[in-house]
C-alpha cells in the first residue's frame, strides 16, 4: 500500500511539474517581447556597470569579512577556559566566516569573467586590479581565519595555501567532525542534483524568449555528469576496501 502511495505521489508530482512547465512555457511565449526586453536590459546593466558592481559588492563583502574576523579575534582573546557559551559563539562566527570568504572569492571570479567576456577589445585594467585585489584579500583572510580556528582547536592541521589542505584538515578532525563534514557533503550532492535539474529547466524556459546558445546546456551537463561520476566512483572505491575507517 505504501509503495503504491509513493508511486501515485511520484506520478502526481510528475503531472504537476509538466503542467507548471507548460504554463510557464506558454506564458513565456506570450510575454516573449517583455521577457526579452527585461533580460537584455538586465544584461546591459551588468555589463555597463560591471566595474562599479564589482567595487561596491566586493568592497561591502570585504568590510563585512574584516568586521567578523576582528570581532572573532577579540572574542578569542577574551576567551577563558570553561566559557562554553563564548566558545560556541566564536565557533559559529568562524563557521560563517570561512564559507563567506569563499563566496566572496567566487563572486570575484564570476564578475571578472564577465569583465573579460565583454571587454576583450578594450581591456579593463581596473577590472583586473579589482580581481587581483579581491583574490589576494580573500586568500589572506582565509589564512588568517584558519589560523584563528587553530587557536580555538589546537589539534587542527593544514595550511590553506597547501594543495593538500583539505586532506590534512579532515585528517585532523575527530570522528564527529568527520561525520558532520561527510553528512554536509552528501546533502550538498543531493541538493546539487536538484540545482542542475533546475538550471537546465531554467535554460530551456529562457531559450524560448532569448537565444542562449548551446554552451549553458553543455556546461551544466558536463558538471552534472562529473559530479555523478565522482560520487559513483568514490562510493564504489570505498565499498571495496579503501574506506580507511579502522583507526
Amino acid at each position: 500500500m505504501k509503495k503504491l502511495n509513493s508511486t501515485i505521489k511520484f506520478f502526481i508530482i510528475l503531472a504537476l511539474s509538466a503542467f507548471i512547465g507548460g504554463l510557464l512555457g506558454g506564458s513565456i511565449v506570450y510575454g516573449e517581447a517583455a521577457i526579452n526586453r527585461s533580460l537584455n536590459s538586465f544584461q546591459n546593466f551588468i555589463i555597463t556597470n560591471n566595474l562599479l558592481i564589482q567595487a561596491i559588492l566586493l568592497g561591502f563583502c570585504a568590510i563585512l569579512i574584516l568586521i567578523l574576523y576582528f570581532s572573532a579575534k577579540l572574542k578569542v582573546k577574551q576567551l577563558e577556559e570553561n566559557n562554553d557559551v563564548l566558545f560556541d559563539q566564536i565557533d559559529r562566527q568562524l563557521g560563517f566566516l570561512v564559507p563567506f570568504i569563499s563566496v566572496t572569492m567566487i563572486t570575484g571570479f564570476c564578475l571578472f569573467g564577465i569583465t573579460i567576456a565583454n571587454t576583450l577589445e578594450d581591456f579593463e585594467f581596473l577590472g583586473f586590479f579589482i580581481f587581483l585585489a579581491n583574490t589576494a584579500f580573500t586568500l589572506i583572510m582565509t589564512v588568517l581565519t584558519i589560523k584563528l580556528t587553530k587557536v580555538l582547536y589546537p589539534g587542527k592541521k593544514g595550511n590553506p595555501l597547501d594543495f593538500n589542505f583539505d586532506k590534512e584538515w579532515v585528517k585532523s578532525c575527530d570522528e564527529a567532525e568527520k561525520f558532520i563534514i561527510y553528512k554536509a557533503a552528501y546533502r550538498c550532492y543531493q541538493l546539487m542534483n536538484i540545482v542542475y535539474c533546475g538550471a537546465v529547466t531554467l535554460c530551456m524556459l529562457t531559450s524560448i524568449a532569448v537565444s542562449i546558445g548551446i554552451f549553458p546546456y553543455l556546461l551544466i551537463g558536463f558538471l552534472w555528469i562529473t559530479q555523478t561520476l565522482i560520487y559513483a566512483i568514490s562510493a564504489n572505491r570505498f565499498q571495496h576496501g579503501q574506506l580507511d575507517n579502522g583507526q
Binding site: 570553561n82 562554553d84 566558545f87 575527530d174 570522528e175 564527529a176 567532525e177 561525520f179 583507526q247
Partner: protein
C-alpha cells in the same frame, strides 16, 4: 532504535567538564556535547576510550533501547 547515555552523570561524578573529557579521549568538546545530547553515536573505539576514563564498562555508559 536509540542510544541513551549517562555521560553527563559520570562526568559530574568525576568532576570533569566536557573539554577535560574531550582532551582525555582525544576529541573536541563539541563531540562530547553531541554525544551527551544524543545527536551523535560514538564509534566503538571512542566509546571504549570514554569508558576507560571513567573506569566503567561501555554498557554502563551507553544504553541501547529498541523502539
Amino acid at each position: 532504535m536509540g542510544l541513551e547515555n549517562r555521560l553527563k552523570e559520570y562526568r559530574a561524578r568525576n568532576n570533569l567538564n566536557q573539554s577535560d573529557l574531550g582532551k582525555l579521549v582525544g576529541t573536541s568538546r563539541q563531540t562530547i556535547s553531541l554525544i551527551e545530547r544524543g545527536d551523535y553515536s560514538p564509534s566503538v573505539i571512542l566509546a571504549l576510550k570514554i569508558a576507560k576514563v571513567f573506569g566503567a564498562t561501555v554498557e554502563e555508559l551507553f544504553l541501547y533501547k529498541e523502539e
